[in-house]
């Protein structure tokens, strides 16, 4: 990976993820998040993880972020005036975040990660090699994710749907109930 490319993608992802936290309008937060995800996907591709990088862009940006967008539209959210309250909470939260970031950076600085480009086998990161690993060593986990997704979709529909009127309440509408 060229250094210029890394610096460009790192700058884009850091600035846009700061945008997610700092913007007032949820739509702007979402657009900043999409930019972050695209930059991280490009980093995946630059790290020879081509399949995962494209999956990131197709699944995350194409599907999950659109779900967020639909929810923001559905709730008709506007930019909120940010209240000043809970300054003490924010103070401690800032200290906690700073401590965690410092800890991570100290940990990374002490870790000896070998520098330099390590050559990888031909076809590393391709659909072929990903599928070989996924459907070989991780087959059980892959099958379990199908159950997870099924349960999640059923749960989402069950939680989000409006309670249908029962037959008794539909037959005898309550006094003063909305039509």
């Amino acid at each position: 990976m060229p250094v210029e490319l890394f610096i460009f993608l790192a700058t884009v992802s850091i600035v846009s993820s700061l945008g997610v936290v700092a913007q007032k309008n949820p739509i702007h937060c979402l657009l900043a998040l999409i930019l972050t995800l695209i930059a991280i996907g490009a980093l995946f591709i630059a790290l020879d993880a081509v399949t995962v990088g494209f999956l990131q862009i197709i699944v995350y940006v194409g599907a999950i972020m659109v779900l967020f967008l639909f929810v923001i539209w559905l709730l008709n959210l506007q930019a909120e005036p940010v209240p000043i309250g809970h300054l003490g909470l924010k103070f401690f939260a800032t200290i906690a975040v700073a401590a965690m970031a410092a800890e991570l950076f100290v940990f990374l600085a002490k870790t000896k990660i070998t520098l330099g480009a390590i050559p990888v086998v031909a076809g590393y990161g391709s659909i072929d090699s990903l599928a070989q690993t996924l459907f070989g060593q991780y087959l059980m986990a892959f099958e379990t994710t199908s159950i997870l997704l099924l349960v999640a979709v059923i749960g989402a529909v069950a939680v989000a749907r409006r309670a249908l009127p029962t037959r008794a309440s539909a037959a005898a509408p309550k006094q003063g109930a909305a039509p």
Binding site: V20, C29, V52, Q56, H86, A96, L108, T114, V157
Partner: protein, 101 residues
Amino acid sequence: MIVSYSWLMALSAAIFAIGVAGVLLRRNILVMFMSIELMLNAVNLAFVTLARRMGSMDGQVIVFFVMTVAAAEAAVGLAIIISIFRNRETVNADELNLMKW
């Protein structure tokens, strides 16, 4: 000069810290949710970096699973947010204090 893996891990740590800050500082539950996605992606970046370092595909498969879990989490979480908004007309986490002691 070549890109070292430590830089990528540092980038991952920075994005993760920004995500934590978003969850702790923002009060809009949708934005808190987006910050959680940010943290998941920071961890994905660390996984892909270390998979490249080790020359193995296992890290990339884990990223695949993290994406699956993120999709399930987004579906359920957004359903809960819609349900809360329908009942309480708010997405401010401070106003949802029914279960606070």
